[in-house]
C-alpha cells in the first residue's frame, strides 16, 4: 500500500519508524521537540523550523531533545553518544551551518573507527536541509554535500522524492556509519507515492528513472526533476535521455554511471552545487577514466556558478540549474 505524502511527512514517518523499532534511536537538534510549548498541550506543534519532526516527542517522550544553538556541541555530543551505544539522529537545521560543526564530523565521526583500528562504530545520522530556491540567500542556501562526500569515513545521501527520502533515511539511521542525509529545498515541496510501513532504500545505489539511448542525464536532489523535465522536452524533439538519480553521493554508484554512459556515449551531469571540487567533477572524472572507451562526446557539467547564492529572485533563478541549461548542454554535445 502506498499513498501520497509530502517530502517532510515522508521523513517524519521514517523517523517515527526508526524510533519505534530501535530504543537506541534518539533525535536531537534545535527545536526538534518544538521548544517552549513543553508544558502545554502544543508541545511539539512546531517540530523544528520546517515542522519535519512534528508529533515525535509526544510519541517518544525523552527521546526527542531540544538543544541550545550549539552546533559543535550538538554534533560532537551526538558523535560521543553514537560511539557509546546510542544511535542518534542529529538535526543540523541548514547545511550552511556545517561551518560551525565541521570538526566533530571531519575529525571525529569520520575517523574514530579508522584511528581506533576498527574497534568502534559510529552509527550517527545528521539530517540537514541543503540548497537554494527559497530566497534564503548566501548563508542559508548552500549545497555543501561535496564537503561531506569528500571526507573518508562519512556517507552522504540526497533523495529526490518522498519515497526515497523515507527509505534512504531508514537505511541511514540503521547504518553503522555516520551518514549525512540532505533534504534539498528544491524537493521539500514535492509530494509523491510513499509505501506504508518499514522499507529501506540501500545506500550506494543510484536509480534509473528514465531510459533512453541518446544521452545520459545525471542528477541528484533537486536537479533530478530538472533532468526529468529536460528529458521530456528533449524527447519531444526525438532525443531520448537516460536519467539517473544518484541518490547516494558516497558511496557512489559508479557502475550505474558507467553503464548508462556505455549505453549513450555522452553525459550531462547536473548539480545545484558550485562547480569546483564537486560531484559533477567526480562523475566526469570517472567517465574519462574508467568510462573512456564509451565516450563519444565531452562530458558536460551544469552547476551553479562559482559564486555565493544571491537573494534576489531573478538572481537566484539565474543561479540554479534549469531544464533549459541542461538542454543547452545537450546541444553542445553536437
Amino acid at each position: 500500500m502506498s499513498r501520497e505524502l509530502g517530502f517532510g511527512m515522508a521523513v517524519n514517518e521514517a523517523l517515527h519508524l526508526a524510533l519505534e523499532s530501535d530504543p537506541d534511536v534518539i533525535l536531537l537538534g534545535e527545536d526538534v521537540a518544538g521548544g517552549g510549548a513543553r508544558d502545554s498541550g502544543d508541545v511539539d506543534e512546531m517540530g523544528g523550523v520546517l515542522g519535519t519532526t512534528k508529533g515525535l516527542v509526544k510519541s517518544f517522550p525523552g527521546r526527542v531533545l531540544d538543544t541550545p544553538i550549539s552546533e559543535m556541541g550538538i554534533i560532537g555530543t551526538a558523535v560521543g553518544a553514537a560511539a557509546t551505544g546510542l544511535r542518534p539522529v542529529a538535526e543540523l537545521m541548514f547545511m550552511d551551518f556545517l561551518g560551525t560543526c565541521l570538526d566533530p564530523l571531519l575529525n571525529q565521526a569520520a575517523k574514530l573507527r579508522y584511528m581506533f583500528g576498527g574497534k568502534v562504530r559510529v552509527p550517527l545520522t545528521v539530517r540537514t536541509v541543503s540548497g537554494a530556491g527559497m530566497q534564503a540567500a548566501a548563508q542559508h542556501s548552500q549545497s555543501l554535500y561535496w564537503i561531506t562526500t569528500g571526507i573518508p569515513g562519512l556517507k552522504t545521501v540526497i533523495p529526490s522524492n518522498p519515497a526515497d527520502a523515507k527509505g534512504l533515511l531508514l537505511s541511514a539511521i540503521r547504518d553503522d556509519n555516520p551518514v549525512i542525509f540532505c533534504e534539498a529545498k528544491g524537493v521539500l515541496g514535492l509530494t509523491g507515492e510513499v509505501p506504508e510501513g518499514d522499507y529501506t532504500v540501500p545506500l550506494g545505489e543510484a536509480a534509473l528513472l528514465r531510459s533512453g539511448g541518446d544521452v545520459s542525464l545525471v542528477g541528484l536532489g533537486c536537479t533530478v526533476p530538472v533532468c526529468m523535465e529536460a528529458a521530456a522536452q528533449l524527447a519531444a524533439e526525438g532525443i531520448e535521455a537516460d536519467v539517473l538519480d544518484l541518490r547516494s553521493l558516497q558511496p557512489l554508484d559508479e557502475e550505474a554511471i558507467l553503464s548508462s554512459l556505455a549505453k549513450t556515449g555522452s553525459m550531462v551531469v547536473v548539480d545545484e552545487a558550485t562547480p569546483r571540487c564537486g560531484i559533477a567533477s567526480d562523475v566526469a572524472a570517472l567517465c574519462v577514466d574508467r568510462g573512456f572507451d564509451s565516450l563519444n562526446a565531452p562530458v558536460k557539467r551544469v552547476t551553479a556558478p562559482h559564486a555565493p547564492v544571491p537573494f534576489s529572485q531573478v538572481l537566484e533563478r539565474a543561479y540554479m540549474p534549469a531544464a533549459a541549461d541542461v538542454i543547452a548542454a545537450v546541444r553542445e554535445l553536437g
Binding site: G35, G36, M46, P68, I69, G73, Q139, P310, F311, Q313
Partner: protein, 324 residues
C-alpha cells in the same frame, strides 16, 4: 547622563522608523510582494537605538538575522534597505544580500548575519583594527541570548578581554531562541554573569527603556574608547512578533506577549518619559511619525519602480580586483 533635544528626537525617529519599516514589511510579505526568510525586530527598538545613539560614524556594529533595527539605528538609509528587501539592483547590497545579510559598511554596519553568533568575531576584529590603527573607534556586537551558547561568543569575548579591545558585546535577551525559552538552554538567570569567565566588565539594562540602555551603553562605550576594555551588556527585551514572519507562536503564552506589548512598548515608554519630563513635546513626535510614514512610503514606491538586478551579474563581485 547627557542628552540633548536633537539627539532624543533623532533616537525617537529611528525607533519609529524601525517600527514603521517592519509594519510595512509585514504588509508586503502578506501581499506576496517580498520573499525570503525575515525576522522582525519590533519590540527591541530601544536596544539598537539606545546603543547606537552613543556611537559615532566611524564606529562599527555587527548584527544578526534580526538586523533591520541595527541597520536603521546605525544610519543605513531606509530607501536602500527597502530596495534590498525587494531584491532590486538599487538595494544597499544590490539585491544580493536580502534581509538576513543586509549590510552597509560605509555606515559602519558590518552586516546582518545568517549564522547565529558569527557577527561576534567580526566585531572583535573591527575592535582589533581600531586598537592597532589607533582610530579611536569602538566596535559593538549585537546578538541574541541564543547566540551566547555558540563557541564564537566564548572565543571572542576571551580574546577581546585578553587584548583589552575597544568592544562592546550587547546581548539582546528576548527570552527565546526560535521557539525555545532561554531558560531551557541557559542555566543562569542573567547572561551577564558569563562575562566573569573572561574577567570582563558587565552590565544589565532594561532593553525596553531607551534611557536605561542609552546610559549603560554610554558607560560601556566610553570605557571601551578610553582603553578600559570590553563590556558584556545584557539588555532584557522581547520581540513583539514571532521568530520569523509566519511563526504561529504556539510556544509562548498570549498573556505574556500582551503584557510586554501593552505595558512595555519601548516607543510608548520613551514618549511617556519624554513628555512627562518635558524633554520633547507631543507635536514634535507626531511630526516625526508623519515624516517617517512619508519616508517609508517613498522608499516602497522607489523600490517597486527600481530595476531588478541583471541576471548576467549573478557571479559579479565574488572577488575584488587586486592591485597585485
Amino acid at each position: 547622563m547627557q542628552w540633548n533635544r536633537e539627539q532624543l528626537l533623532d533616537s525617537y525617529r529611528k525607533m519609529r522608523t524601525i517600527r514603521a519599516f517592519e509594519e510595512k514589511l509585514t504588509e508586503l510579505v502578506s501581499a506576496g510582494k517580498m520573499g525570503g526568510f525575515m525576522h522582525l525586530y519590533a519590540g527591541e527598538e530601544a536596544v539598537a537605538v539606545g546603543v547606537c545613539a552613543q556611537l559615532a560614524g566611524g564606529d562599527f556594529v555587527s548584527s544578526t538575522h534580526r538586523g533591520h533595527g541595527h541597520c536603521i539605528a546605525k544610519g543605513v538609509e531606509v530607501a536602500g534597505m527597502m530596495a534590498e528587501l525587494f531584491g532590486r539592483a538599487t538595494g544597499v547590497c544590490k539585491g544580493r544580500g536580502g534581509s538576513m545579510h543586509i549590510a552597509d559598511i560605509e555606515k559602519g554596519m558590518l552586516g546582518a548575519n545568517g549564522i547565529v553568533g558569527a557577527g561576534i568575531p567580526l566585531t572583535t576584529g573591527a575592535a582589533l583594527t581600531a586598537k592597532l590603527k589607533q582610530t579611536g573607534a569602538v566596535a559593538v556586537a549585537f546578538f541574541g541570548d541564543g547566540a551566547t551558547n555558540q563557541g564564537s561568543f566564548h572565543e571572542s569575548l576571551n580574546m577581546a578581554s585578553n587584548w583589552k579591545l575597544p568592544a562592546v558585546y550587547v546581548v539582546e535577551n528576548n527570552g527565546f531562541g526560535e521557539f525555545t525559552p532561554t531558560d531551557f538552554v541557559i542555566p543562569v538567570k542573567d547572561i551577564a554573569v558569563r562575562a566573569e569567565s573572561y574577567a570582563m566588565n558587565s552590565d544589565i539594562a532594561d532593553g525596553m527603556d531607551f534611557f536605561d540602555v542609552f546610559e549603560k551603553a554610554g558607560r560601556a562605550i566610553e570605557r571601551a574608547r578610553s582603553g578600559g576594555g570590553p563590556t558584556l551588556l545584557e539588555c532584557k527585551t522581547y520581540r513583539f512578533h514571532g521568530h520569523y514572519v509566519g511563526d504561529p507562536l504556539v510556544y509562548r503564552s498570549k498573556e505574556e506577549a500582551e503584557d510586554w506589548i501593552q505595558n512595555r512598548d519601548p516607543l510608548l515608554r520613551f514618549e511617556d518619559r519624554a513628555l512627562a519630563e518635558g524633554l520633547l513635546d507631543s507635536d514634535a513626535l507626531r511630526r516625526v511619525d508623519k515624516l517617517v510614514e512619508e519616508e517609508i512610503a517613498a522608499a516602497v514606491e522607489a523600490a517597486e519602480a527600481a530595476p531588478l538586478p541583471d541576471p548576467a551579474e549573478v557571479d559579479a563581485d565574488v572577488y575584488a580586483e587586486s592591485p597585485a
